[in-house]
Amino acid sequence: MAERYISLEGIGRRYPNPAGGGHTTIFEDLWLTLPKGTFTCIIGHSGCGKTTVLNILAGLDQSSEGVVVVDGTAIEGPSLDRAVIFQSHALLPWKTVIGNVAYAVRSKWPSWSRAAVLEHARRFIALVGLAGAEDKKPAHLSGGMKQRVGIARALSLQPKILLMDEPFSALDALTRGTLQDEVRKICQETGQTVLMITHDVDEAIYLADRIVLMTNGPGAVIAEVVENTLPVTRDRLDVHRHPAYYPLRNHIIDFLVTRSKAFEAERRALELAGTPWQARQPRLVRPGFSDPTLAITPATAAMSA
């Protein structure tokens, strides 16, 4: 990768066994680089540690080993450079919409005047389409509107990276679609670097430039990084008609259904073939028409039977 804007370098997370003696390894020796201005999704089953990866990057959790480097510096704890959009929106219920956003703005720029803080907050509230709702309390907003406030709060910090932990999973399909459109538009316009956790394949394909596939935990690894072969200008409503869509989607679904739990065998096969899997340099794949995973393999035949 030409530009290592953000890189995870050999991070691992272990928890001591509750019964005593030894540790459970959620994941170890995880390497990943996020180039500036890219949108990356991590996809994997529950328990593979994808949320832990995000929390370590956010500084909310600590890695047992390895370092995270952001813009040339190893991180220590949370930072205003890395904004988090929480799954549960995590708005402060006693503050209004603008109060919540202004709280973040004031945290980042304590020396700003009150008027400047409110002006900045208002700009980002308008950006997520909530102009006019500034003085409402979160309890009076719908789930989608609450998440918009969470997005406005994170964006208002103008962070180096935006971290999203399944931000749309609690929303209904219609709201989710609209928010995906807006997040994609905003991120493209601002050139925001984003890391998002999801288990929704279509969401990952629509939003991400690169999709990181994680195997099942414990002992999860990054199996490969899938490059999104769809054009950058894509429309949510007819993205599925693009010829590259189904090869991409099938590749990811195949991974989640079969390969994610049998990656150890695949790893040995790669070893024998002379192209060993490397933790430091996960393979970059571009699923297309000639992709071998489209062929009927014994595994996929067994699935359809």
């Binding site: 704890g77 930072s79 988090v84 929480f86 402060l92 219920p93 006693w94 709280y103 945290s107």
Partner: protein, 280 residues
């Protein structure tokens, strides 16, 4: 909604009327009994002895007349044993306020520290559990012996009885602030003092206010008993003094006023609690 409230009000008035009627009927003197003693003797020894040493139970009309009499001139002072009810209530409220404010000043910051430190929470828990159930009046002799001033002692008793609900609720409220709000503060690099004032305090405020409301209720219960013990001034002393005077009418009047003041104090705290409560 409005009709429901109106119905409840009508029922309340009905219950009050029924109670007052029953009371009036219950205290009617038995006409058959007649005067127990000679009228001349009664004139000599006073009304109390005239009915055979028993003070007749006053009816609601007498109490209302007495209440009106007290309310017409609540702040007179005619010697140490004869002061207006307003003055007596004022003494009691001032003592409660002093003890209560002192308790809040100690309990809320201490509860904050205990709530934020699981170690302190566990270390101080046994002491709190032992001290909390002690009747506040049990401290009175110790307070009188060490402080040597009856009025300060009753303030101390108010302090000791109102500290526990505030301390326990503050610690609990602070300890159970939602993790996600603390995570928001962490990702925004909020400094500890700002985090305490802008995240933890508003998040725990409803729980803290609930503790303060429980405390004011207990303090108002205890002050009456404490003033009966130490004497001198206050509504508790007034009740005891009127018992010595065998003036049941004054006692019932005072009981009514104690209830009303207690209700006002409780409602004031309830109003504060509503002001800091946030819907989730």
């Amino acid at each position: 909604m409005a009709t429901d409230r109106l119905r409840a009000l009508a029922l309340s008035v009905l219950i009050l009327a029924a109670f007052l009627l029953a009371w009036q009927w219950g205290v009617q003197p038995d006409p058959a009994a007649g005067p127990a003693v000679d009228p001349e003797y009664a004139k000599l020894v006073g009304a109390a002895a005239a009915t055979g040493g028993q003070t007749p139970m006053p009816g609601p009309l007498e109490v209302m007349a007495r209440l009106w009499h007290h309310l017409a001139d609540p702040f007179y002072v005619r010697g140490t044993n004869d002061m207006g009810l307003g003055i007596q209530l004022g003494y009691s409220i001032a003592r409660v306020a002093a003890g209560y404010v002192l308790a809040a000043v100690v309990a809320i910051p201490l509860g904050f520290v205990i709530g934020m430190s699981p170690l302190l929470y566990r270390a101080l828990d046994p002491f709190i559990q032992v001290l909390k159930p002690i009747s506040p009046l049990a401290w009175m002799p110790l307070a009188l012996y060490t402080i040597k001033d009856s009025s300060t002692s009753s303030i101390f008793v108010i302090f000791i009885c109102s500290i526990w609900p505030m301390l326990i609720n503050t610690a609990f409220g602070v300890a159970s602030v939602r993790k996600e709000w603390l995570n928001v503060a962490r990702t925004l690099e909020v400094k500890p003092l700002r985090r305490a004032l802008t995240i933890i305090l508003p998040a725990a405020a409803p729980t803290i206010l609930t503790g303060m409301r429980i405390s004011i209720g207990i303090a108002w219960l205890v002050i009456v008993a404490a003033e009966m013990l130490v004497g001198g001034t206050g509504i508790g002393y007034f009740v005891w003094n009127q018992w010595n005077n065998l003036s049941i009418t004054d006692i019932i009047t005072a009981i009514l006023l104690i209830g009303l003041v207690g209700m006002v104090l409780d409602q004031a705290l309830a109003w504060c609690a509503r002001a800091v409560t946030y819907p989730e």
